[in-house]
Subunit: 309 residues, 3 copies
């Protein structure tokens, strides 16, 4: 079971920034490529006032700050160079859709993505879209948001694939800036199935790939959720991947690189459940020999041993 893609956590909401420039990113893309990572997915093009590129829409309408680098341009140039695929991502306002106004969220992201497509669409590595909004249930008008944005982005780009990465409302679904590690109770697999059967039914044709985050449930529960998610996705013709988180959710420091045993266990569970592709959140902090966290480099070595076995 191989990890073939990773998120690029620019702009981050809860992972401290590494302050890399083009040279450091070039080195990291090479490190990804060396272990078979072929796809890089921008986690979001903006979060509140922080944005990944000098978007006229976001600076004018949302008062976002001019970024120091044009990250998509940098990433696409590197993806071109390293022969990788890049997914551009929508904007996370933290305001509109989470507070009832998902139509405004759709509207902004449409215009930001139009701007991005005009600016970056010529890159050979521009390979798809990621819709950034993360949900575990059909809340905040998410079915309409995914369906309308997904269709729009495919139409805009001549049919490039659209990816989402939801989570499971499991025992470990707690806010990253709270000290607790667990809820009292996670969602049942039946309730989760029911929610996602309805959501996927509503977004089929507009969303091509669904990659559930694998870190919110207990390790021993994971397999059953993986099976359920794949079953629903298969039913609606959506490609199902696992987003195998490479950070550890069980430790007081939120977050540092995961213990290799845990990642290995999760990858094996996905393999057993019939998955063909894994992506991860994310390589550069948690699995990279270039990471600010030195244990990430050791995780890289363990993973490399595993795939070369």
């Amino acid at each position: 079971m191989k990890i073939i893609g990773t998120f690029l956590d620019e702009i981050s909401c809860d992972i401290p920034h590494q302050n890399w420039g083009p040279a450091e990113w070039d080195k990291d893309f090479a490190a990804m490529k060396a272990v078979g990572i072929e796809e890089v997915i921008l986690i979001r093009c903006g979060f509140l006032k922080q944005i990944a590129f000098p978007s006229k829409v976001l600076m004018a309408e949302e008062g976002c700050f001019e970024p120091y680098y044009d990250y998509p341009e940098m990433f696409l140039t590197l993806a071109d160079k390293h022969n990788m695929k890049f997914y551009f991502s929508t904007y996370e306002s933290c305001n509109y859709w989470l507070k009832g106004n998902y139509k405004k969220e759709i509207d902004i992201s449409k215009r930001v993505c139009e701007e991005a497509w005009a600016k970056y669409g010529h890159h050979k590595s521009f390979a798809g879209w990621y819709v950034t909004n993360e949900v575990s249930k059909k809340v905040h008008g998410i079915i309409d948001l995914f369906a309308e944005l997904g269709k729009f982005l495919k139409d805009l780009s001549g049919g490039l694939p659209v990816m989402i990465s939801p989570y499971i409302e499991g025992k470990k679904a707690v806010p990253s800036n709270e000290s607790v590690l667990n809820n009292d109770e996670g969602i049942s697999i039946e309730e989760h199935y029911k929610e996602w059967d309805e959501i996927m039914s509503g977004i089929k044709g507009a969303v091509d790939i669904v990659a559930f985050q694998d870190g919110h449930v207990d390790f021993e529960e994971l397999y059953d959720f993986l099976v359920a998610n794949k079953e629903i996705a298969d039913k609606y013709g959506i490609e199902c991947r696992t987003n195998s988180e490479s950070f550890d959710r069980d430790m007081p420091i939120k977050f540092l690189p995961i213990k290799w045993d845990k990642l290995w266990y999760k990858l094996k569970a996905a393999e057993r459940a019939g998955y063909e592709k894994a992506i991860t959140f994310e390589f550069s902090h948690f699995m990279s020999p270039n990471s600010m966290y030195l244990s990430a480099g050791h995780l890289y070595n363990r993973y490399k041993e595993y795939i070369n076995k």
Copy 2:
């Protein structure tokens, strides 16, 4: 005052994993040896579903996951090579003894240790046992647990020594995954003395070494607790060491390497109180030049200067 032993925090409950393989561990054992560390103590052979070796007992009965490495085998091989002593540790279920069923806890650990002794007992570095359950008072049937397990392990192994490492219910005795740093009030030395006089009276003969953790009380309170602990241990013929924690309990990040001044202060307090041996929790994350935390390497250098003075 020298640190002659360290825990090996595999399997960890609250310290992020470094993802080391045999080569990294070899290097770290050499770094230990270079500053006089002669003993390595496995902190536990399992915690919930995570285990340190592919124990048939734990995989069959507790549903534990197969580990990537056989850590005891790796550690014993390295201890053989570096001429060090290794203590094997019991299993922490987090379920049975903490929820009233200490007899089941004893039963599992007995069988796991039998399995381990059969597998690893031939190593020349197999030098003793560590009973992993951490308490500050006579709760959860701990006297019977220590006494019965201790006696069993000594009988099993031809009298190898048994170690425990309790803590003091001091002001800093707060859960590692809560953000607070202090309780309102720590235990009084009188109450602590009374508890441990009773506990040590009940475990004498079964437990050979008690190494109280030194990080839960204010630095200015520590000396008095060190004196009390040694007095009780001496009374019952138990060897008394200090477990001088090398991580900092006073900082919002839980946990990073301790300030050298604090460790130095604690070691001096133990020396003044008549202690002859210190161990630490733990070298590889918090005092090692190989640690993922770079300040650990500087702590190593400060400690090396101190012991070479």
Copy 3:
């Protein structure tokens, strides 16, 4: 907009210690100097029982612990060598002034600073004083404390300048050891102005430099507070600097190096508001190529690019 000074976070209250000795500090002073940092400011000479030099006053009267190094001596020697300016700082008891007895706080700090001046005043780099007490409002007798201590220190040293570094009671003014990142509501600029107009009126002549911390308000609010602070300081003839924090207040890990974009944004806001000098809290953990946090070295590189543009 250049950072011309940095705090030295010895003794720290919430940032883990790096355990550097003279060689590591020498290297770090050189790294500071290479990016134009000319001033180093001791954050405090003691905090609770931890102290930066073997002060007879603090060891005898406050029961403080003998420190391993004499930090002011080390820092002054290095500042002499690197041709930098050093500010000595007062003692933070955490007891007296915060609990109503600011007269005792003044009294201790006076005597500690007399001791320090006698010991260290001969160094050519001894360039000023920092009064360590951090406030956002006129609480705990702070006007009298700043005024009396400031005047005393200037008289003691032939008029060396006195600096303070208050904060703004903004949305991000939350305790470092709580997991939350935000208050419900920050102070209004009007209320802040009123408080500081009164405080600065009461300390003029005794305090020469005020450097407000810039991290407690939202980025988009910062400019207005910078303007207000400068306006008040100008009115009372106090030099106004920005203390541009180089750690990130928006992340669950408290604290790691800030994202360069954020620091860049804050520096630009101060420049726009007419500031001439920035200092930072603090270089050695958060902006240094020698930091235990590797992202600090990358921040250093980004900052170096920016000042060399």
